[in-house]
């Protein structure tokens, strides 16, 4: 096997000893090139290529979105009131958050305000999504990076029970419960048909939990699978179904009927009681299962503090969850807004979506065309014109990519930048910003986690920190659901039943030309839609989504995005089993579902040989 990837593949001028990026990373692609394509346990399609040195430490990382669906193009000339349904289908996992972003963008463009009840119901739905998405992410997409399922078979159920009872008052924790579960698991494994657990990295020394902790975690994997279907019923009550509940420009589609007759489907006391019951259960599950599990598992990985990437340098949050309807000022937003650059936590910059100098998207290394590709475009003037073309040093052919060339175009993801900076977005970004702003609801839980694990603040900027921030946020969101539920009840009690504003529903009330922006904090990070409306139709629609920020390719200045940055300098136990890559990528909860191949160092795929 010959070593194929050498520094000459890098067309950047400073090739050879390595390239220093403006955002502080030294890229060296002289080592072995490892290709992971696609990555499993994510949503969407993602490919990652890394170079590892002779000690198997990652020295160059290339992340590539390998799917494009063209929804922005499809939206052109359609009715703006329909846009929520199209954009909601961008993601069925963070379902609803695109729809919320879209109705906000349209309302902003058309000058539509929404009633208080609609604000509370929208917030409850958005917070429901946060709790659901974080819970499913941790147990079903991320946990198997830390938990060895097969090891659970050798656990002593009594000791598992003692462990579980020592960290939580969750009732499903008796020796008999774990014994029964272990028996079922044993039968399953002995059947020889392992289903989704087949061919996992069981037994790898990268796993560090004792069998008893593994058994507890597997039990909670299954319990969380049962429970997550309950959480989303809140969407079903207000939006009719989940995934993809229904939304409405001007408010919410569900009417409230507390004392009137008829209206089996309107929001009445039975429906409200069901919402309350689910919120209570969600809080209990997160308090008694999710948080203790993250702490327990984290305690075995305290020294695995890789994966920080951009999180200690540049983070961005748009803010979300307005306390007051139609007030999107910093004071009203319960999730914080701001930008931190170059690791200066003492300064949180304001963020303005309308300023054409702030948020811009670049396509120099993306499979799109711009008139001038050295320049970025603000999303209101954004262009989405697909153009698939591999770089000159790519290996393979157009329809059989063996290795990408990051000096050319290499991803279906554009490169968004805030004032020229590559930014990390997501739960960790939000919690770092809240922490930096000194907000007690963010600062205190972070300090408690660090204290309990005996770690310094710097440990926050890591794969583990990202995972912990997500858990804290799920807890925060569940309690905020209760807050907005109580607010909704108080408002109804005071006699306000309004759920929609229809003053400007009909297009004759719209300006001939207008534009707007809507923003949210999706579970995965800062999300905004920019819309231009002309003659009652969509003239331009651009979405900049969280994974565009985190998974961005390089920009014309050479800055690397958050995924690429996070993989840098991570040692791998065995590059043929890319657990470390999965662990860190999963901590972002990438929204790009897919599966993985690994290639050998000479660029020949280990898998392709067996497969085709």
């Amino acid at each position: 096997m010959t070593q194929q990837s050498t520094s000459q593949d890098q067309a950047a001028p400073a090739a050879g000893a390595g390239v220093q990026t403006p955002n502080g990373f030294k890229l060296d692609n002289s080592g072995k090139r490892i290709v992971v394509d696609p990555v499993t346990r994510i949503e969407g399609h993602l490919r990652v290529e890394v170079n590892v040195d002779s000690d198997n430490v990652i020295r160059n990382a290339v992340s590539t979105g390998t799917m494009w669906r063209g929804i922005e193009v499809i939206l052109k000339n359609r009715d703006p009131r329909d846009a929520w349904a199209f954009t909601e289908r961008i993601c069925g996992v963070c379902t609803g958050t695109h729809a919320l972003t879209s109705v906000r963008a349209v309302e902003d463009a058309l000058g539509i305000t929404i009633p208080d009840n609609a604000n509370s119901i929208r917030n409850i739905m958005q917070l429901t999504l946060q709790t659901h998405d974080h819970l499913v992410h941790f147990y079903h997409l991320h946990a198997l990076d830390w938990v060895d399922v097969v090891s659970a078979l050798s656990a002593d159920p009594k000791e598992t029970s003692a462990l579980a009872q020592s960290i939580s008052s969750w009732p499903l924790s008796s020796p008999g419960y774990f014994k029964d579960l272990q028996t079922r698991l044993k039968k399953f494994v002995e059947s020889g048909q392992l289903g989704p657990f087949k061919n996992g990295y069981w037994g790898s020394k990268a796993y560090r939990l004792p069998p008893e902790a593994n058994l507890m975690a597997v039990a909670h994997y299954l319990e969380a699978l049962d429970f997550q279907k309950e959480i989303v019923k809140i969407h079903t009550i207000f939006g009719g179904k989940n995934p993809h509940p229904n939304w409405l420009v001007g408010g919410v589609p569900c009417a409230i009927n507390i004392d009137g007759t008829g209206a089996v489907g309107a929001i009445n006391i039975e429906r409200l009681n069901l919402v309350k019951s689910i919120i209570d259960q969600t809080i209990e599950f997160i308090d008694k299962v999710y948080i203790p599990d993250v702490m327990a598992i984290g305690s075995f990985y305290k020294d695995w503090l890789y994966g920080g990437g951009l999180s200690g340098k540049s983070v961005l949050s748009y803010g979300d969850v307005p306390e007051r309807a139609n007030d999107y000022s910093d004071k009203s937003l319960l999730l914080p807004r701001g930008a931190i650059i170059n690791g200066n936590l003492s300064e949180v910059h304001p963020v303005d979506h309308r300023d054409s100098h702030e948020i811009q998207e670049f396509v120099t290394h993306s499979w799109y065309k711009y008139g001038d590709e050295t320049k970025g475009l603000h999303p209101w003037d954004g262009v989405t014109d697909p153009h698939f073309e591999l770089g000159p040093n790519a290996k393979g052919t157009k329809t059989n990519i063996v290795e990408l060339d990051e000096s050319g175009k290499y991803s279906w993801i554009k490169a968004p930048r805030w004032r020229g900076h590559a930014m990390e977005v997501g739960p960790l970004a939000r919690w770092v910003i809240g922490y930096a702003q000194g907000k007690p609801e963010f600062k205190e839980p972070v300090e408690k986690v660090l204290h309990d694990l005996g770690l310094p603040v710097s440990a926050l900027f890591s794969t583990l920190g990202r995972t912990a921030a997500r858990a804290l946020e799920a807890q925060w969101a569940a309690y905020q659901e209760r807050h907005f539920f109580e607010k909704l009840m108080a408002n109804i009690k005071a006699g306000d039943l309004s759920t929609a504003n229809v003053d400007k529903w009909e297009p004759q009330h719209w300006p001939k030309e207008t534009k707007g922006v809507g923003f949210t904090e999706a579970p995965r990070g800062a999300l905004a839609h920019w819309i231009k409306i002309k003659d009652g139709k969509i003239d331009n629609y651009q979405c900049v989504v969280p994974t565009t920020w985190n998974g961005s390719p390089r920009d014309p200045a050479g800055n690397i995005g958050a995924f690429e940055a996070s993989l840098m300098d991570t040692p791998m136990v065995d590059p043929a089993q890319p657990l470390e890559i999965l662990r860190t990528l999963h901590s972002f909860d990438p929204c790009l579902a897919c599966s993985t191949h690994v290639m050998s160092e000479d660029g020949q795929e280990m898998t392709r040989v067996q497969v085709r």
Binding site: V35, D37, P38, T40, R41, I42, E43, H45, T66, M67, W68, R69, I71, V73, I74, D82, F86, R89, I90, G92, V93, V136, E190, S191, Q193, G195, P196, F197, K198, N199, Y201, L222, K229, V232, K233, T236, I237, G240, H244, P245, N246, G251, P253, C254, A255, I256, G262, V264, A266, G396, K398, T399, N400, A500, Q577, A593, S595, V598, E605, T607
Partner: protein
């Protein structure tokens, strides 16, 4: 290594008696026209067969079908995955990655040739040589065709796999293409919806694994048991349609009383799905119940059938919409007329849906 756990072992463990099992086999044999010897053959097969391997692949999609699947309440998805099928490959939830994951595909193709189910969520784009969806450096469509070669049957999950869905809406920039337009030589079951209802999904899977055959399909390839009636036929707001009681604008008094959403653009009268019977998320609600009209997400090309809030105008020429409007203004008293008008609308839609069936 212990003996392979069979379907029979599983159901016994779940409390099904030998007696019920035998009865089940007899009924199944009878329904298949196999007579008494057939029952013994079925029993033997279920006692000795492994769980059916399922390979679940993802093309252009948003993962809403997978998310819906895991919401199933009866059966619980946990039990489907641990006891009823062997979900050996699903890139969204599987532990393995890389060549360990790919090895499963190869092994399944060889070991279970003609015996595994290929479940497909999403669809392949054909423009740009298929490179709008790259899987392992290659067009997704190649992997799809390769795994379909040796499958017993293909389940097209959701509107993407069945019809194309949102990425295939005009102008369909990627040329996203439904599964039955790239795979011709296998039985394909379409389970449309954006997404399909969870219990419909697990219902289709458990029907196949329980009865050992595919459910009866309509001319468009959908299981008749879930897709042979329009949402309108069993809608709980239907009496208000018949009585001429309509919501006229969002959050009006009629909306609060739960009147019919036809004038708000509801596509229930032209949409075939089980939403108004099975309902969503364990029977909690469905879109119309929660106040928004049906957007018709299980129908072919629903994205391009005009704005969602425009009432069904494609039945204009028959005067039905006008009749419905007039009835709405005339309020009560005209129930008989409304029923007649509705009967006409039903007849018209039956004719129109036949046109679409081709």
């Amino acid at each position: 290594m212990a003996a392979v756990e069979t379907f029979y072992d599983v159901i016994r463990r779940q409390g099904v008696t030998r007696r019920s099992f035998t009865k089940f086999c007899s009924l199944t044999a009878a329904s298949l026209g196999l007579g008494s010897t057939g029952a013994a053959r079925i029993a033997n097969a279920l006692e000795t067969n492994e769980r059916t391997p399922v390979i679940w692949m993802h093309g252009l999609e948003c993962t809403c079908c997978s998310e819906s699947f895991i919401r199933s309440a009866h059966p619980l998805v946990k039990d489907v995955v641990l006891s009823m099928i062997s979900l050996d490959y699903d890139d969204t939830i599987m532990a393995a990655a890389g060549h360990q994951a790919e090895a499963i595909l190869e092994e399944t193709k060889q070991k279970y040739k003609g015996k595994y189910i290929l479940a497909v969520e999403g669809n392949p784009p054909l423009n740009e040589d298929g490179m709008f969806c790259i899987d392992g450096g290659r067009p997704f469509v190649e992997k799809l065709k390769w795994m379909a070669e040796d499958a017993m049957a293909v389940i097209a999950w959701g509107a993407c796999a069945s019809w194309g869905c949102v990425q295939a809406a005009k102008p369909n920039p990627t040329r996203a293409t439904p599964i039955d337009k790239v795979i011709y030589d296998k039985p394909i079951i379409k389970v449309p919806g954006c997404p399909p209802i969870a219990e419909v999904m697990t219902g289709v899977v458990t029907y196949i694994t329980t009865f050992g055959r595919l459910p009866e399909l309509d001319r468009q390839g959908r299981p008749k048991m879930f897709y042979s009636q329009r949402i309108h036929d069993k809608c709980y707001r239907r009496p208000h349609f018949d009585a001429g009681q309509f919501v006229e604008q969002w959050d009006d008094e009629s909306a609060r009383k739960g009147h019919c959403l036809y004038k708000m653009g509801c596509k229930g009268p032209t949409t075939y799905n089980a939403c108004s019977t099975v309902r969503w998320n364990g029977g909690v609600s469905f879109p119309i119940q929660s106040g928004h009209g049906c957007i018709g997400c299980s129908e072919e090309g629903f994205w391009d059938k005009g704005p969602f809030y425009e009432r069904l105008t494609n039945i204009h020429q028959f005067g039905v919409e006008k009749t419905a409007d007039e009835i709405g203004m005339a309020a009560a008293g005209a129930v008989g007329v409304a029923v007649a008008a509705h009967a006409a609308a039903t007849a018209v839609k039956r004719i129109m849906s036949k046109d679409q069936d081709h």
